[in-house]
């Protein structure tokens, strides 16, 4: 018997992972949720047929969204996390003892419940006393805050589906408003490789550039995501992700990571020419 999970990365390309068994399948108010056990990648979380994370490579994604801004901002105390129902972002954040408050806003409570049950490797820190989970629309939550957070991490699904509102100008503008003047926003930024993803990536970049003074894109290699080449956004009105990198201070924290290090931090912002071109095509202003 062979059981395979397949995801179409384009209408003509697909990634298939052989699975051992299905651990969970359910339909929430917002989406279909599936969890599989696989031989090569461990457990898989799948929403509406799209692979969200695998046990084997989730560390790359979560480390890159958390440690990059944390190594730039000198003193993050209050963090807002949008999405991230699997708990991976919260897990990485709780490793910083200087962080005082983590507000996580996830629209779909069932994702959190399912992850608590089946993905203990990411959903391990929801009960940390600093963590407060709000089950509501991220766009709505963030609208009500002004000058309130040091760091906002946007861990959204793709821009087609429940995550749609998190790729909009109104959302990025509201994040700008919710941040302190020296705040940082990082976001899941899609992939530059396949045309449909690239268009979504460009739209997101355009919207962020319009909202923040500094907006840079960085990359990582994530084997199970379409094309394997994935981007993240770094936006701030104060900090530059490389010039303001505090490598020594970060190393002093002695946080053990498997993917991230401060040399890689600098390198991650060095983008291939075709990606730079895609980004420049939608930038109206010359950036630093």
């Amino acid at each position: 018997m062979e059981l395979w999970f397949s995801e179409k990365h384009t209408p003509h390309v697909k990634l298939s992972i052989q699975v051992d068994r299905q651990l969970y399948s359910g339909e929430s108010d917002y989406q279909r949720i599936d969890v599989f056990e696989s031989h090569e990648f461990g457990r898989l979380l799948v929403l509406d047929g799209y692979l969200m994370l695998t046990e084997k490579d989730e560390f790359i994604y979560h480390e890159m969204l958390v440690h990059v801004p944390m190594a730039v901002h000198p003193m993050v105390k209050k963090v807002l996390v949008i999405g991230a129902g699997d708990g991976g972002i919260v897990r990485e954040l709780t490793r910083y003892d200087t962080i005082e408050q983590i507000d996580m806003v996830e629209i779909d409570k069932e994702v959190v419940d399912v992850c608590r049950q089946f993905l203990p490797f990411t959903a391990s820190k929801f009960d940390d006393p600093r963590v407060q989970i709000h089950f509501q629309d991220g766009l709505k939550y963030v609208r009500h805050f002004e000058d309130a957070y040091d760091l906002i991490i946007v861990d959204s699904t793709d821009p087609f589906g429940p995550g749609e509102g998190l790729f909009t100008r109104e959302f990025y503008g509201n994040c700008y408003k919710a941040l302190h003047t020296d705040g940082i926003m990082v976001n899941q930024h899609e992939s530059p490789f396949y045309p449909v993803d690239a268009v979504a990536m460009q739209r997101a970049h355009k919207r962020i550039v319009e909202s923040f003074a500094i907006s840079r894109v960085y990359q990582a290699h994530i084997p199970t995501y379409p094309s394997g080449h994935w981007l993240f956004g770094f936006a701030s009105n104060c900090f530059h992700p490389i010039y303001d990198l505090k490598a020594k201070e970060w190393k002093k924290r002695e946080i053990k990571t498997r993917y991230y290090n401060t040399n890689l931090h600098r390198g991650a912002f060095a983008l291939p020419n075709y990606v730079q071109q895609l980004l420049e095509d939608v930038e109206h202003v010359d950036l630093v």
């Binding site: 629309d137 766009l139 609208r143 749609e164 909009t168 100008r169 109104e170 503008g173 408003k177």
Partner: protein
Amino acid sequence: MYRLDQNQIPIVTALQAVHDQRLVPFDVPGHKHGKGNRALTELLGERCLRLDVNSMKPLDNLCHPVSVIRDAEALAADAFGAATAFFMVNGTTSAVQAMILTACKKNDEIILPRNVHRSVINALVLNGAIPIYVNPQIDSRLGISLGMSVADVERTIESHPNAKAVLINNPTYYGVCSNLPAIVQLAHRRGMQVLVDEAHGTHLSFGDNLPISAMAADADMAAVSMHKSGGSLTQSSLLLCGPRINASYVRQIINLTQTTSGSYLLMASLDLSRKVLAKNGREIFEKVVNMAEYARSEINEIGDYYAYGRERLNGDTIFDFDSTKLAVNTLKLGLAGIEVYNLLRDEYDIQIEFGDLGNFLAYLSMGDRIQDLERLVSALSEIRRRYKRAEADLLSYEYISPNVVRSPQEAFYANKIQVPLEDSADRVCSEFVMSYPPGIPILAPGEQITDEIIRYILYSKEKGCSLTGTEDIDVNKVNVLVE
């Protein structure tokens, strides 16, 4: 509560049967189930093209319905509480025109509010009737025209006792309702028919806490835009008639201008949508009202915006309010409604229904989702943060009472010359000047141009309203009657 079985969808059922029969088509349309136009089939889908067929024996004929279309119209009449109903395939415009052409002829008077749709005045150009305008009251805080006051209608009826009909715009685009039952009573006492432009009120027949519908208020005819809140395809509409109306005469009137190749896609969408409304309408519109109320409270919380609702009721010109409408006043923000409309579109990828000088309208329907409302509310909050201005430089909306010196028909067909707009004061206009949205005429054929009107046109232009109706596309010149 319905006389007929509202589960039936006779046109859809017949259309599906024809589709399954795999007939060899030696009739029109010439695309022959899409095989003759692959590009179009790719665009619209094979199923759509296979259903795009012409009238034939099992499918009845819209011009003279005797089977499935007749049955579907009877079901629609039953669902809307009307004596008869007509499927219209040329928009609610054609339904409005059919009402007017039925109720009056050349030189007959018809009483109507100025804020009627252009299709009404176009109908007067067709049949030569004379408009007697009732000045709709203005809400000066909001800068919108309201319903007709019962006293104004009564006075107009007294001074024009020979008028054949009263036309009412109910609800207005903004959701404002007049005292329909009282106006119907007044008109009927004088033997006048009551025609209701109910384009924005399809749902009124299917909600528990919604204003009274035209048919329930005993009006004689109503034009209902099924494609707005009813969920059918664009351009499909219904004409409803009460028991006093001679339906065969109405059919003759409709056939004067209606296509003889009525689209089955449109008719099937009317048939199916009527079923959905009859079966689930109450539930659907309760949900829409709840979404609208939620959006109203969130928008009002942002500050400066005013999303108005039932608190505006005044017992007369705002006798009732259609709570599914999400109309928002923007004057305190220092931005015109049309500016917010443009910002939402250009900066936030949100398309709303219209913006005028002081308001915009977001159209809510059965197809909306709460997360899309969150986007709208968030974008409005951002627009306030980024673009708020001092309130001062906005001119408030003024109702300019028209001076009708020639009948619309006379003026339309008279000899005319084109003059620059700025030099047109005191001349008689021979064409429309529309500000669109919201589609209410500033000038109609036969009306005198004044300095005030010229200033208002220039201002609307400057604010980005789309001005249409004149032969000169840019509305720098207007056609006036040769003196």
